[in-house]
């Protein structure tokens, strides 16, 4: 059973003057452990697809399954629960809370799951070390570089050991080398922890790193192929 499956999913936004068909009949399945890129030009529907998979939005039509369960009609509270426990998010703009330190930003994920303060702290420090931020635990986001901030965001997504991490253009705000490092880190986590990754990008250099490349255009999947192994995959 795939971890995530979209069956002929449509999403049309109605809040403007004219309806905007953002996603038009997307079908795809993601297996556990995949490291997949959702590629396509700006406006092609990448963010919308990620939001639908993450339960942040509902499809206008079609079915969406998470771990075999139809989540397209799930009430808000249950989708929140799903995100809380099983899905990690990473954003282009890092989205850290400016008044919290690195470790506190990571702890936020765990606080929602009802961990004790000591467990929260221990687990967060561990994962921060894992993403290469040892020694920077008490810095606030403003005292970190973009790459470091994104590492905190990755730690925040990973600390609760989610089944899938949805990353919306995680390298778009980073220079090339830093972006490559972030991708290395994600690939490494995918390999060592088995976490499924689905990340969007419009950067050909980033697409190259994925082991599966789903190409979107105008809300449709125009190509979906597995990339031949290039060293970092298994």
């Amino acid at each position: 059973m795939p971890l995530v499956e979209l069956r002929d999913v449509y999403k049309t936004f109605q809040n403007g003057v004219a309806p905007v068909p953002a996603v038009q009949g997307v079908s795809l399945a993601l297996e556990r452990g995949e490291f997949a890129a959702l590629a396509g030009p700006s406006g092609s529907g990448k963010t919308t697809v990620l939001n639908l998979i993450g339960g942040l939005d509902r499809p206008t039509e079609g079915r969406l399954f998470f771990d075999g369960r139809d989540i397209s009609e799930l009430p808000e509270t249950e989708r929140t629960q799903l995100r809380r426990r099983r899905i990690g998010f990473i954003f282009q703009t890092f989205s850290l809370i400016p008044v919290l330190s690195s470790v506190e930003n990571v702890e936020l994920s765990l606080a929602l799951l009802g961990f004790t303060t000591t467990d929260m702290r221990r687990m967060s420090l561990e994962i921060l070390e894992h993403v290469g931020l040892k020694g920077l635990e008490n810095r606030r986001p403003a005292q970190l570089s973009g790459g470091q901030q994104q590492r905190v965001a990755i730690a925040r997504a990973l600390v609760k050991d989610p089944e899938i991490v949805l990353a919306d253009e995680p390298t778009a705000n980073l220079d090339h080398d830093t972006g490559a490092e972030i991708l290395d880190l994600m690939a490494d986590l995918n390999r060592t922890q088995g976490t499924t990754f689905l990340f969007s990008t419009h950067d050909p250099k980033v697409m190259e790193r994925a082991r599966r490349l789903i190409l979107l255009d105008d809300g449709r999947v125009v190509s979906d192929r597995t990339v031949p192994s290039r060293g970092e995959g298994t």
């Binding site: 942040l56 809380r84 426990r85 998010f89 989205s95 919290l100 009802g114 961990f115």
Partner: protein
């Protein structure tokens, strides 16, 4: 310990630092309103306490025995009590520490050229000071010695006759005191003015003439008669209504059993009209203060509104992390509450310090208002009264009101669709 509550509280406090200037302005608004409100309440409480004390210490005592049909607002003093009907054994109730008779009578005072209506107070000094506070009251000159014939006049009476208190004290000033007996006969005595008194109690200060009880009885041809017997009780605080009423009832029963035609009033009943006026004052000054509170509440609401708007994207991120919309709403309510709590504590510290200072030093009303006579039973200096319960209630109130003020902006943001929130700038 579960981390979520601690986390939420920590985040709420830290959020004060997101926009320091805005937080500072909001805290100042809350703090100032709490400080002003506390100061205002402190003065009203001080005014109430001081004036109640003055009423009790100068005229009402705790319990008063008066003839039937006594009207405290317009006393006429035409029926009197025989003081021998009320021996100490009759008045000896639990909690009662002293009793003193007074003979109040409408009188005239004349210096030979002018005459003015006054209220005479015939006093048995020895017993009077056990109940009233005349001995602790500023007096220029002196009271009469036992057996001496003379009067002590209120400061207002001295002014009316343009008498300089110091020359009065030096002796040699005489006034004629005129009274009328029950039968309608006038009596007049030329008496030396021994002293000038300032009690803070307007009826005595403006038109009071104090005289030895026997002298007053002689003037009115009313030997052995008094207009009232006042009782003092031990440690009756102004809130202690139950004990007061119990004593009142017990005494009333005793008087009835002794077949005496007399009524027992508590100071509260005697002061009912005054207390009502004071309450109106309280309400109106509280309403004025609500204006401050309103500004502070609007400040908090505005602050949270802007914060919630600015942080729409962050709210989207929190929703993506799995925060429930109610948790988001609570987070903003906590932030509002923190503004109220911190602002309240700042204001409480400021207002508390000011009230404590004014409790020690007081506010000199004559300095503020000049010689205008205040129709308040207080002396020249008004002391504020520090009440910890008020202070704590106000900090709690500020916290609660601020959380409430945050409700609508918080709800609006919390209810946003997560995907829409994430798309915000």
């Amino acid at each position: 310990m579960r981390g979520d509550w601690i986390f939420a509280a920590r985040l709420a406090f830290r959020s004060l630092g997101r926009n320091r200037k805005r937080s500072a302005i909001t805290l100042a608004a809350v703090g100032l309103s709490v400080a002003f409100l506390f100061l205002e309440l402190g003065f009203v409480a001080g005014l109430e306490e001081q004036s109640v004390n003055t009423l009790i210490d100068q005229d009402y005592g705790h319990l008063k025995i008066v003839p039937p049909d006594y009207d405290p607002m317009e006393p006429v003093y035409d029926s009197l009590l025989a003081v021998d009907d009320f021996p100490p054994s009759l008045l000896d109730l639990p909690g009662v520490t002293a009793a003193a008779p007074r003979l109040k009578f409408p009188s005239l005072v004349s210096d030979g050229l002018d005459q003015f209506p006054t209220l005479g107070y015939g006093l048995d000094l020895e017993r009077d000071v056990e109940v009233f506070a005349l001995d602790q009251t500023p007096l220029i000159g002196r009271f009469w010695a036992p057996g001496e014939r003379g009067i002590v006049i209120g400061g207002g009476v001295a002014e009316t006759f343009r008498l300089d208190p110091d020359s009065v004290a030096a002796g040699g000033v005489f006034l004629t005191l005129v009274g009328r007996s029950a039968a309608g006969a006038y009596g007049a005595f030329d008496l030396p003015v021994l002293g000038v008194i300032r009690t803070g109690y307007p009826p005595i200060d403006r038109s009071g003439v104090l005289a030895p009880l026997e002298l007053a009885q002689e003037l009115l041809a009313a030997p052995g008669l008094v207009s009232e017997i006042t009782l003092r009780m031990e440690s009756v605080s102004s809130g202690d209504t139950d004990r007061l009423q119990a004593a009142q009832k017990a005494l009333q029963v005793r008087l009835s059993q002794a077949g005496l035609q007399a009524e027992v009033w508590t100071w509260r009943e005697l002061a009912a009209d005054y207390l009502a006026i004071l309450n109106v004052r309280k309400v109106s000054s509280n309403i004025a203060s609500l204006f401050f509170v309103l500004i502070a509440v609007m400040g908090v609401a505005n602050s949270v509104l802007i914060a919630a708007f600015e942080r729409t994207k962050e709210v989207g991120m929190l929703r993506a992390l799995g925060m429930r919309s109610t948790e988001i709403m609570w987070q903003f309510l906590y932030e509002g509450a923190v503004l109220g709590l911190v602002g309240g504590m700042i204001g409480g510290a400021l207002g508390g310090a000011a009230v404590l200072y004014l409790q020690q030093v007081g506010l000199n009303l004559t300095a503020l208002y000049g010689d205008i006579e205040l129709a308040l039973p207080i002396k020249d200096v008004l002391y504020a009264h520090f009440r910890l319960d008020h202070l704590l209630a106000m900090i709690a109130g500020a916290t609660l009101l601020s959380a409430l003020a945050a409700y609508f902006p918080a709800r609006r943001t919390a209810k946003l669709n997560p995907a829409d929130a994430l798309r915000a700038k």
